[in-house]
Symmetry: C2
Subunit: 336 residues, 2 copies
């Protein structure tokens, strides 16, 4: 790996700012790095216009024309089954057939998850693929495994999430021997619901990870663990509370800053520095989340992705292949 040309399908129709931001993002990614080409899946006319408008290099892009769009609120299982000519279904089929290495989408999370499992398919031996976003902490970056794919997970799945999350974080972010914590309601081993209690000793015995025990939700933003293992329901609650609390706090702080002439002047003096620092702590700005353990790669970009975030998700897909994450997962988990 690493030397060949990697083919990445970009879902041009997915996300709140599609198709324009997706195409602009494609242009940015292609400009930033060599070594990959893009297959642009979606409305042919819009794509061709975008190729001209954003000056995409024609030798590195091809068009995969599709006519259907899977909407955000559509029940995902049905959508994947019915909309055979959508960018998600046709794009993922290319990965399935080996005609592309990765699929990147800012579209419906549900459809991307279902499509990833049913069209692209799992690596042999992987029980379920977790959706693993990177989250900002006081100390840097942590990885949440799982936050979306498996709401009623089993202990054996969580152990695989821990292993795959560790490989992902170590190789993509460069955190050596990442500390794995299981999301729990207390620090003591006897704490937790049935799932956590059953999973805890299995994680303790797993030789390929650096398990540090339970991590309370309160300690995640402070950076107590690098890989946070959770069922998708709890993981989603964690991620979304993170996002919502930060948003509400910012709104409140802004209100205070605008409340009088004095505070307005004060705000002017810290505004720039504050904005830059808080950007680092923005959950939604951390690019794409991979669905790990697939026979190929699916990257889910935030629904509200702008061109930069789309570009980041594309470059993340490329790095994933350069680092041979799937090869390392197979080796560490002794698959096949």
């Amino acid at each position: 790996m690493g030397q060949e040309n990697i083919r990445i399908v970009l879902d041009v129709m997915g996300g709140d700012n599609a198709p324009s931001c997706n195409l602009e993002g494609a242009a940015k990614a292609l400009k930033e790095k060599e070594g990959f080409s893009l297959i642009l899946a979606g409305d042919e006319t819009a794509i061709k216009e975008g190729i001209d408008k954003y000056d995409l290099p024609k030798d590195r892009v091809e068009v995969l024309p599709t006519t259907e769009i899977i909407e955000m609120a559509e029940p995902p299982v049905m959508a994947i089954r019915k909309k055979k000519d959508s960018s998600i279904v046709k794009g993922m089929e290319m990965v399935k057939k080996g005609e592309a290495e990765a699929f990147v989408s800012a579209g419906s999370t549900g459809a991307v998850l279902i499509g990833g499992q049913t069209i692209v398919g799992r690596l042999k031996g992987i029980r379920r693929p977790p959706l693993c976003p990177l989250i900002p902490t006081e100390k840097g970056t942590a990885c949440l495994a799982d936050c979306g794919a498996n709401v009623d997970a089993r202990p054996e799945m969580l152990v695989q999430f821990a292993q795959m999350g560790s490989i992902y974080l170590e190789n993509m972010i460069g955190i050596k021997n990442p500390r794995v914590g299981i999301l729990n309601v207390g620090a003591e081993e006897e704490k937790g619901n049935a799932l956590v209690k059953e999973t805890f000793p299995m994680l303790k015995e797993c030789k390929t990870i650096n398990f540090i025990g339970s991590v309370e939700a309160r300690d995640v933003p402070a950076g107590y663990a690098d890989v946070i293992v959770a069922d998708a329901f709890s993981g989603n609650i964690l991620l979304k509370t993170y996002e919502g609390t930060a948003k509400s706090l910012m709104k409140i702080i802004k209100g205070v800053m605008m409340s009088s002439t004095k505070t307005k002047i004060g705000a002017l003096m810290i505004k720039k520095e504050l904005k830059e620092t808080l950007k680092i702590f923005d959950v939604s700005a951390h690019g794409g989340a991979p669905l790990l353990g697939l026979n190929g790669l699916v990257v889910k970009s935030h629904g509200s992705s702008d061109a930069d975030e789309i570009a980041n998700s594309i470059l993340e897909a490329q790095l994933f292949y350069e680092k041979d994450i799937n090869g390392q997962i197979k080796k560490a988990l002794e698959l096949d």
Copy 2:
């Protein structure tokens, strides 16, 4: 109710700042309101010294001497069983025997929950008592039911949590016909784990509550729902992420404010207003959380409670009786 003298047991030994802050809090509560007396449970010498030091009115306090202390990290079931002469066990026994109406503690959450269920006992017909903290939102105050008591809850329990949480919030905070939402990973009815999917239609059919459907964790801080129904595991993740994110953000903002002379000057101009506003949004400062549905009342105050928070928890217990919350729960849930 409302006219008689309410007897509240205060656990003088529980919490990070015990016994001094607990006794100071007792003094504050007694000074603020009439209509109740306190039974101070704990080390006799410390209590007698505190009564003198904080000038507690001797006609409104009595001492319940105990010699054992249940530590924060002790396995709670064993602690309740073994430490018969602890402030938690002896205090709760008084409620059980009808010698007191309420028990207030900032001690071990686990021990308070176990003691509440096994010593004080449930109202007949209540499956499980939820721990229901009030949480700050952009719009005011919401109530989380449950955040600590039942990590592996059943749908029937969650319906009772919704009913009891509604009565509590309406009467204690004055929110008429509070909007009940079930904590979920998406807004659509088909979303959720097995527990949520099973509970959703039951909440929809429940006549005594104002059910508005699913509420995503992201929308809780913005105040989309008044009563948030959850199993204790998810509820705890929500509450603790709230707390942790706010704490980390504040730390980061403080760092920015102290980063240069310019920002330091700016910070001075908004500091006071910011501090006051953010206090409102501090999860930990919202006083005590009741364990609802008991044959009596147990209020859990935050472990790090200062004198004001202890006083608030005591006054909350008094109000709970004045408003006859248990009578209303019995009526609405048609218990007995």
